[in-house]
């Protein structure tokens, strides 16, 4: 044991060994310097060169270049309000209650979504608080019209936390009030018509 140690020590010392190790160190850094004209490419994880760090600079200048993200990655939510039937399923399934929806019944025909489902409700409020969101993706799973989706955007930090609440409604507050008024008016008219019909039946009976 002792002799092995001594031999190892002998082997690793002495002028020429020092020179050799200095030269090999210098060659290493010079090789990296010479390879500095090559860059790491922003390739997807499935690419062969992703884990094999190729020669050259490893840095990606992030805002200008970024590694691609997987298709099933879960990042910022987006609601395509044109296709939304305001069914409230997403708000019900959300484990952290980050989706707030208010609905107003439409008084007239308001068209169909892109997959042909009839829209019957207006959404004066459709807010998603991305600060609360836990990125579980349940809401996108339950969405019957596939209007609520995860986008590939992940860099959306804000200075003011209130800006993390995303408003997806396509109605202005005035429009929302108008729809509410119309709905209430229709309800009143229906109630009046009902009352009149009831009174007429009583008179008959």
């Amino acid at each position: 044991m002792e002799t092995i140690k001594k031999e190892a020590y002998k082997h690793k010392s002495g002028f020429w060994h020092v020179v050799k190790s200095l030269v090999s160190g210098a060659r290493l850094t010079l090789r990296h310097f010479a390879n500095a004209n090559k860059r790491r490419k922003p390739v997807y994880v499935s690419d062969d060169s992703y884990f094999k760090q190729p020669d050259g600079l490893a840095t990606l200048t992030y805002p200008y270049e970024a590694l691609p993200i997987p298709d099933n990655g879960r990042y910022r939510l987006h609601n395509e309000i044109e296709d939304c039937i305001v069914c409230d399923l997403c708000a019900k399934v959300c484990p952290v209650n980050c989706i707030t929806i208010e609905s107003v019944k439409a008084t007239e025909d308001i068209g169909v979504t892109s997959d042909g489902t009839k829209k019957r409700l207006y959404a004066p409020v459709f807010d998603i608080d991305m600060a609360k969101c836990c990125y579980c993706g349940l809401c996108t799973t339950v969405c019957p019209t596939d209007c609520l989706t995860m986008t590939p955007v992940y860099d959306f930090s804000e200075v003011n936390i209130k800006n993390m609440i995303y408003h997806f409604t396509d109605l202005s507050p005035e429009q929302a009030q108008e729809k509410q008024r119309l709905f209430e008016k229709q309800q009143e008219e229906m109630a009046a018509a009902k009352a009149a019909a009831l009174a007429a039946r009583k008179q008959q009976g």
């Binding site: 990296h32 310097f33 500095a36 050259g56 200048t61």
Partner: protein, 367 residues
């Protein structure tokens, strides 16, 4: 006065390029990009760093020895900058062509040590004090092998005048007053019978005229790294233990001056190495028969072509040495104090003494 301004401008330009090169070289050796945002490829980064430093508050600690603290950066920079006075830039251009240039340079650079001690003591900070003491111990120690290496070059050249040493190392030797009939022989040995006076180029550089000067050059280069507090001899500034060494309390303009002095020192020691060992402002290309590469790349003395070629060769060789300094910094780990002193006193100094002896014997053979 004109020489003063020109030298200052040249020095500032070289230091700005060097500070940028330092960051880029470091980045490339570590597989990073370095500065990219300020200007094309980040080339304005060093300029912006200086502008930032100039805008910062000039803080003088309340308990500092204010006089020493304020004077130290100016003294350090003045000592280094004064060294540039004797550096010949071309065959006809030298700020102050004095006959004892080498001696003057060694003396004036030693003044640097006083400035370092003033900064370290004046700061009233334990890190600054430790850094200054280490710095002084290191610089004073390494002046010995550096001085011996310079001495061997001086012995071979038989002159203390940088300009005369420069002329000896190229095809223009016979143009220097008093050396009209001198001859350069290959390796300095007349017995070999190869006259290199008109071949010039690399064959007349000091490391070729007297091959043991190659060893002297390596010794001088290692010692100069230590004298300018560069890695792997940067224990006076060891970031991980001493924060920043003697300039830990400095900010703003005074820090900028210390920074400038540090980089000027790197440039100065590289210039001295080039002048004494690597042919000064002479071209490395020799005349080969009718292909007079040396004459073509030397120009005419006293005309613009001569000055430009000389300045070009001097500055390119200096930048090669500066690159080696950066390369060493980003390759080798810092030495311990005991390793530092071992290298200086037990390795470099004895070898330098042997080289001095050999240089003396060689000079006898050269006659």
């Amino acid at each position: 006065m004109l020489a003063f301004l020109l030298t200052l401008m040249l020095l500032l330009g070289v230091v700005i390029v060097l500070a940028y090169a330092e960051r880029k070289v470091a980045a490339f050796m570590q597989d990073r990009l370095g500065p990219t945002e300020a200007g094309p490829y980040g080339s304005l980064q060093a300029v912006l760093d200086v502008l930032k430093l100039l805008q910062k508050e000039d803080i003088v600690p309340a308990l500092a020895d204010k006089g020493l603290f304020k004077l130290a950066p100016i003294l350090i920079f003045a000592a280094v900058f004064a060294g540039f006075a004797v550096i010949p830039i071309s065959p006809t251009l030298v700020p102050a062509g004095i006959g004892i240039g080498v001696f003057y340079l060694l003396a004036i650079i030693s003044l640097d040590v006083i400035g370092l001690l003033m900064a370290g003591w004046g700061s009233n900070n334990k890190y600054a004090m430790l850094g200054a003491m280490r710095s002084v111990a290191q610089i004073v120690s390494y002046e010995i092998p550096a001085g011996l290496a310079i001495l061997s070059a001086v012995m071979v050249s038989q002159s203390l005048d940088f300009q005369e040493i420069s002329y000896q190392q190229g095809v223009l030797m016979n143009a220097f007053p008093g050396m009209g009939y001198e001859t350069n022989w290959l390796f300095g040995i007349q017995a070999l019978g190869i006259d290199t006076t008109n071949i010039g180029g690399i064959t007349t550089w000091n490391i070729f005229r007297a091959p043991m000067l190659l060893v002297a050059f390596v010794i001088y280069f290692i010692a100069s790294l230590a004298e300018s507090n560069r890695a792997p001899f940067d224990i006076p500034e060891a970031e991980s233990e001493l924060v920043a060494g003697f300039h830990v309390e400095y900010s703003g303009f005074r820090f900028a001056v210390l920074f400038l002095a540090e980089y000027s020192m790197m440039v100065l020691v590289s210039l001295v190495a080039v002048i004494l060992f690597l042919g000064s402002w002479n071209t490395p290309l020799p005349n080969i028969g009718s292909v007079a590469l040396a004459n073509w790349t030397t120009g005419t003395i006293g005309e613009i072509s001569g000055n430009l070629w000389a300045a070009f060769w001097l500055i390119s060789k200096t930048f090669v040495l500066l690159f080696v300094q950066l390369w060493a910094r980003w390759t080798y780990p810092r030495l311990r104090v005991d390793q530092l002193m071992y290298l200086c006193w037990k390795v470099l100094t004895p070898v330098a003494l042997v080289v001095v002896l050999l240089a003396g014997v060689w000079r006898l053979l050269m006659i």
